[in-house]
């Protein structure tokens, strides 16, 4: 049988050192779904970008229906009936679906919007899309936008469709619907190529799988004749244990209590609606929900980056019977608290500091002779990140936007280590030696691949960037560690490194809050899972016993029954 698309010995280099694709040959037939599977940076997207006319191969050839072709631009690709749906949508927000579809079609059926509307509806009927051609893009959900992208490609008569990580932004139900549509397309004689790194989706939707690793094609296998385990081994290049070691929480006690938190944005849209929950020390609390349900804002409220309109954020510092330190209390404060009778000495007697000189008090503190009677309870609401730090609250936050928020892309690892600590010390000059040491420690301990600690972190791969960020945040031995989508875009190995780091923190007694999107991971990692939908908590479940369906239901549930947790 003649392949619909044939790649022969495709090679692509970036710069001198990066060999993105190395002699890749592969066939795609009519009426099949071919999955291209591989870890991040293995060259899947680069390969398909060459088919779609975005890059040009350094060597090798591309044939369509047995005829060799040259694809120099996306327009050439369309002329050869190849269409690619990119990970990041390329749509005009203020146009309708049909207008976006017609955009750029010079006199080829793009001028009469009524005809376009009709044809869009016809395509939608044929493959089972739900779409209103007259709806504006800014009114659409992510899934609807993706539908527009697919229709745009079909409208131009594409016979070969390439989808780059199409499920990354979709909910469980939306993924199911997309897969049904893909099956209808191949039944209609089209070829579908789907780029992904999710094994379960490969097993569910594809006919054949091409596995790539480090720019090379490892093998092409029939999906029915392989297993998730075999594919993983091919993808990673060695045996991988896919289990997360989840220990039982030891003595979990409330660390962060959030009560009735409400947040609205500048336009008055309610982002958080009466959110209440408790995160305990020694436990991983997962937060599940469709992207944009308020998870990010919730963490930012706790970190002091957003000002909620109402509600409480209470932090309990486990200080009972622990020595007071100068890390978060100044001499005057210690004297003041001693006068209130809040301290005791190692023998259990109340500490009285009246009559002692400053030097003597300092000595007592340094000798750890002044102990707290009770845990410290404090409100974090309306505090800036700096004020929270000055209260002595060791709160670490791994934000979703690593290079835009957590790190400075143009700075090296060592300068990024300073972000949290550069204020330390007197004087106007920076102290660079300790951050450099910390950076080198993290590079060594977490196997960060980088030419040096001075290389701008922007040039590192996603996984390495994340290791640097998480490494810094846990280096201060936090009492609370919040992580938003910490494994997004990471390959399997890096993901497991991050899970292990979170587990280690949990075992040290840290309260870990983990915002995740992969339900399987949430269920394997977390002790409890809080589910959010459009800014409200829809339920809190036990991570060990919950079923996936229940989580899926809670993620889309619209009504909340009063208080949760």
């Amino acid at each position: 049988m003649q392949p619909a698309l044939q790649l022969k010995h495709i090679t692509k280099r970036f710069g001198r050192d990066v060999l993105a694709n190395d002699d890749v040959s592969l066939d795609v037939y009519k009426g099949e779904v071919l999955a291209i599977l591989g870890e991040n940076g293995c060259g899947k997207t680069t390969l398909m970008n060459m088919v779609a006319g975005i890059y040009f191969p350094d060597a090798g050839s591309i044939s369509i229906d047995g005829t060799e072709v040259v694809i120099r631009s996306p327009k050439d690709a369309f002329d050869h009936k190849i269409g690619m749906i990119h990970q990041h949508f390329k749509l005009v927000d203020i146009f309708t679906a049909a207008e976006n579809v017609a955009l750029g079609l010079k006199g080829k059926g793009g001028n009469d919007i009524k005809k376009v509307n009709a044809k869009v509806e016809e395509i939608a009927r044929r493959y089972g899309f739900h779409i209103d051609p007259k709806k504006k893009i800014y009114d659409m959900s992510v899934s609807e936008k993706q539908t527009v992208e697919i229709i745009k490609v079909l409208y131009r008569g594409a016979d070969i469709l390439i989808l780059d990580e199409p499920t990354a932004v979709l909910t469980l139900q939306e993924i199911r619907r997309l897969f049904e549509i893909l099956r209808r397309m191949v039944a209609d004689g089209k070829s579908v190529i789907i780029i992904t790194h999710k094994l379960n989706e490969v097993m569910e939707v594809s006919d054949r799988v091409a596995v790539m690793r480090k720019g090379r094609l490892i093998d092409i296998v029939n999906t029915s004749e392989t297993s998730e385990g075999a594919l993983t081994d091919m993808m990673v290049g060695r045996k991988v244990n896919l289990n997360i070691a989840r220990s039982e929480p030891v003595d979990p006690r409330p660390r962060i209590e959030v009560k009735g938190l409400n947040l609205s944005d500048a336009e008055g849209v309610r982002i958080l609606k009466n959110v209440s929950f408790t995160a305990r020390g020694g436990e991983i609390l997962g937060i599940a929900g469709i992207a944009g349900s308020g998870q990010k804002e919730l963490l930012e409220c706790i970190a002091g980056l957003q000002k909620p309109q109402s509600g409480e954020i209470i932090f309990t510092n486990p200080k009972k019977n622990r020595p007071v330190t100068f890390f978060h209390k100044q001499l005057g404060q210690i004297r003041h608290m001693a006068a209130q009778g809040l301290f005791h000495d190692p023998d259990g007697n109340a500490v009285k500091l009246g009559g002692l000189s400053d030097k003597q008090v300092r000595q007592l503190v340094q000798d750890e002779k002044i102990l707290f009677n009770d845990d410290e309870v404090m409100s974090l609401r309306d505090k800036t990140p700096l004020e929270i730090r000055d209260l002595g609250v060791k709160l670490s936050f791994v934000p979703e936007d690593r290079l835009g928020m957590g790190l400075v892309g143009s700075m090296g690892i060592s300068d990024n280590m300073m972000l949290r600590s550069y204020r330390k010390g007197q004087g106007i000059f920076l102290e660079r030696s300790k951050p450099k040491k910390l950076g080198e420690d993290i590079v060594r301990d977490l196997d960060v691949v980088t030419p040096s600690v001075r290389t701008p972190v922007r040039r590192l791969s996603g996984g390495n960037v994340q290791k640097v960020l998480v490494g810094r945040e846990i280096s201060s031995s936090p009492k609370v560690l919040m992580a938003a989508y910490p494994v997004r875009g990471l390959d399997i190995n890096s993901s497991y490194t991050i899970y292990n780091l979170l587990n280690t923190q949990k075992e040290k007694g840290t309260a870990v809050i983990f915002v995740g999107e992969d339900l399987d991971v949430l269920m394997a990692l977390c002790d409890r899972i809080l589910v959010m939908n459009s800014g409200a908590v829809t339920g809190t479940v036990d991570g060990r016993t919950v079923q996936k369906e229940e989580l899926g239901y809670l993620m889309t549930k619209t009504h909340t029954e009063g208080e949760n947790d």
């Binding site: 710069g15 072709v69 040259v70 002091g304 936050f397 934000p399 957590g406 790190l407």
Partner: protein
């Protein structure tokens, strides 16, 4: 279906991004661009200047003008160095703001305010002391300096406050402040020079003392003082930006305001503080112009250097040490162009055209530093069927 056009041709050129352009390679590209720009200048001059067409041999004289413009006499060499110093001082002023991605294009006005303040102090107090007090001569210079610094800082602070509090667009704001400064100078001149000639003339008071004796002209001593002050400022700004906590905060805010907020840096405070630093340095430049060189003020005292300095800072990628070089190149071109207009008796825009062409090539070379051109390797004949 067969596509209509199957042209089996690789594109003639395609671009790839260079991973890390090396220092030596990028300097080589810049030098090549400079040379190429100079060659094109010669060509353009040949096409436009009648004298050159009549006597093509004079093209060497044309190029020689660039050397002559800066190095032929002691006077030209001194003015070359002095001009670099003043331009560099304004570029240094812009650098902290630019590193913070605060696009301050108001250096012209901030510097002019420095000139105006220094001259105002001189105008009102110079030589008019109460004889009973008998302040020493240098106290006037100190007062002028203080006034210039204050004026520059205020002119920098105003847009910073608006940016920090109401998030106004700093580019437009600082640009508009230039005009306010210009008209303030006009107003003062009308007030100070009742005759209506609107030219203040050189004030006799407020001279720099002759610190360095033994130079062939007393004015060179003033030039040397200016050069030394600016060199010291260069070193200070370099240290401030690269080795202090303030400099680090500026870099973080410049890269990402969200990162700054995340680690608890008060963005407002950094914007305000940095613009005060920026304005202070503009004030210093204004003082050097007003007190050290002109001892007078006109609406054109800064002469567009506030805008040229933007280019100096950009070309050096906001590195204070590299700015010595870029300021040097620009002054070199300026003086060369002046020399050309004298030697060939051309007035009008040609000197500016020449400067523009060379700068165009230097700026354009950045593209070739960041990207590599890959030319088609195969012979087209083999590929077409």
């Amino acid at each position: 279906m067969q596509p209509r056009h199957t042209r089996l041709k690789e594109p003639l050129v395609h671009l790839t991004k260079r991973e890390t352009p090396g220092f030596a390679a990028s300097m080589l590209i810049r030098v090549a661009a400079f040379v190429l720009g100079m060659l094109v200048c010669g060509l353009v001059a040949f096409l436009l200047v009648g004298k050159l067409q009549k006597e093509p041999g004079r093209i060497w004289e044309f190029y020689n003008c660039f050397i002559k413009g800066s190095f032929s006499t002691e006077r030209k060499l001194w003015s070359f160095l002095k001009n670099i110093a003043v331009l560099l001082c304004i570029a240094l002023a812009l650098t902290p703001a630019f590193r913070m991605r605060f696009w301050n294009i108001g250096a012209e006005g901030q510097t002019l305010m420095g000139v105006l303040a220094a001259i105002a102090v001189n105008f009102y107090l110079g030589g008019k002391y109460n004889p009973a007090v008998r302040w020493p001569e240098w106290s006037l210079l100190v007062l002028m300096l203080a006034a210039a610094l204050l004026a520059g800082a205020v002119w920098g602070l105003i847009p910073a406050l608006f940016k920090a509090v109401w998030n106004t667009n700093e580019t437009l704001f600082t640009l508009m402040m230039n005009y306010v400064a210009t008209f303030l100078v006009s107003y003062c001149l009308i007030k100070w020079v009742p005759s209506g000639s609107s030219s203040l003339g050189k004030l006799s008071s407020g001279k720099f003392p002759t610190v360095f004796t033994g130079l062939s002209k007393p004015a060179y001593s003033d030039y040397l003082v200016i050069i030394l002050i600016v060199l010291a400022a260069t070193a200070l700004i370099y240290i401030y930006l690269n080795y202090t906590k303030h400099g680090y905060e500026i870099s973080v805010v410049g890269e990402s305001v969200r990162t700054a907020r995340y680690v608890g840096i008060s963005v407002k405070k950094v914007i305000i503080r940095t613009m005060i630093v920026s304005g202070l340095l503009c004030g210093l430049a204004g003082y050097l112009i007003g007190a050290g060189l002109d001892r007078s003020v006109t609406t054109d005292s800064v002469g567009g250097q506030g805008f040229t300095a933007i280019m100096v800072a950009w070309l050096a990628k906001f590195d204070p040490l590299m700015m010595i070089l870029t300021a040097g190149v620009i002054i070199f071109l300026n003086q060369g162009a002046d020399q050309i207009s004298t030697s060939f008796e051309i007035s009008g825009a040609l000197p500016n055209v020449i400067i523009g062409i060379v700068l165009f090539f230097i700026i354009g070379s950045e593209f070739f530093i960041n990207y590599k051109l890959n030319f088609r390797k195969r012979e087209p004949k083999e590929a077409v069927r």
